[in-house]
């Protein structure tokens, strides 16, 4: 490099190695002119680039042109490898599990129906979470004003909870027998429709 004119340019394969190393280590894309300036005198960076581009075709790393400059980049189809997913398992929150229970026992049930049973308004996030988990899905629209959507459980729900059908869910009588319910139930859940829990009978 000090006495450029005295030595012939290195062979093209050697020039290819040089371009490879420079592009790899460079923080920014490098122009052909800059490559030529950094390589020994007499080198042909453009020709070396062509060789290198061919060598990396289809590899996990590619040669890309950025304006007038060149850079090495990971292949776009492997971008997912640059992400590291850590999956954390956490218990479902209280709102979500209650909502899920209501959907399971009262399906198809509207959001208003859920809110009425829980006695609190249901955040959009709660239903979204259950939808995302694939445990509930949209059921048929209720034939009432506004035609509200209903929610029903999915096969994924049955699968996760080890049930073969929603009818396998234990009834209130079973829950009481299992010590999960202290008070005698007012009605069997299998018969209930919306509005079940307001204690007033019709006038």
């Amino acid at each position: 490099m000090n006495e450029p004119a005295l030595f012939p340019a290195p062979p093209l394969t050697e020039q290819e190695r040089m371009v490879e190393a420079i592009l790899f280590a460079s923080a920014a894309p490098v122009t052909v002119a800059e490559l030529n300036a950094r390589m020994p005198h007499g080198c042909d960076a453009a020709a070396a680039l062509k060789l290198l581009e061919r060598r990396y075709a289809g590899r996990g790393v590619r040669l890309v042109q950025v304006g007038a400059a060149w850079a090495m980049r990971t292949a776009p189809d492997l971008g997912h490898l640059m992400r590291r997913e850590t999956v954390e398992t956490r218990r479902l929150g209280r709102a979500a599990i209650e909502t899920l229970a209501i959907v399971a026992y009262h399906q198809p049930v509207t959001r208003a129906g859920i809110e009425q049973i829980r006695g609190v308004s249901t955040g959009r996030g709660t239903l979204d979470q259950l939808l995302e988990l694939g445990w509930i899905r949209l059921g048929p629209r209720r034939d009432t004003p506004g035609r509200p959507v209903t929610f029903v459980t999915t096969d994924g729900f049955l699968d996760h909870f080890g049930l073969s059908s929603p009818r396998d869910l234990p009834g209130l009588r079973d829950l009481r027998a299992a010590g999960l319910l202290d008070q005698p139930p007012s009605e069997e859940p299998s018969k209930v429709q919306d509005g079940l829990f307001d204690g007033d009978a019709m006038p």
Binding site: A21, S26, A96, E98, L175, M202
Partner: protein, 264 residues
Amino acid sequence: MGAQGRMTPIAEADASERLAAEALIVDVDGWEGPLDLLLTLARSQKVDLRQISVLALARQYLDFVETARGLRIELAADYLVMAAWLAYLKSRLLLPPDPKEDGPSGDALAAQLALQLRRLEVMREAAARLMARDRLGRDVFPRGVPQPLERVRRVRRTATLLELLQAYARLRTKDEFRPLVMDREAMMSMEEALDRLRPMTRFAGTWTDLSAYLPQGWIGDPARRRSAMASHFAASLELAKAGAISIRQTAVFGPVEIRRRGDE
């Protein structure tokens, strides 16, 4: 390791040797302790450290200290400690072994010193070799634009059947603990009112005050009554729009009455 550079070949004249010794003394602050100085002196013997004459080395060192004193150069205490120890070693090496004295012999002490010098020399050479290696950021380079790994934390929720059942049981037995929430017990939805009203209005052949349709539990408490009234009114409008009932109010603020459609 400029130490070697300062040493002159032993073959040269006395004058140059003295010059070298003086150069050593002037540079005394540059020594990394007495062992470093000893190693430098040992190199002037121009032999492999394994064949070094420890006796000659002790003499060289003591001469050095003597010269330094003559030049009124203050030496750090550890140099003087080493000088005292070497004087002792010299006497042990020169005098026949004293049978009453225990501890290692003079030869053993000399061998230990030689080993220690060699150990240091070997580490110096290793250090030089290490620093001369192809080093990252100087001879060898990492990727210029590393792509930071994107860390995505995904939370997967899970629940057991027992939790599901417990949740349902909790809802059905409201005596259990519930977190503080805004209750909507005093609220009746329009949907609910509509569900009530629709079947009942089929038998409403005559104009009936809407408030008569309010359910039992909703007429005592004013808040509950207001909500029930509002939802029933909205439901009646819905039913009127659907053509199921007619609706009328005969006076401002008068009672709202409804009856089945087709009974006009």
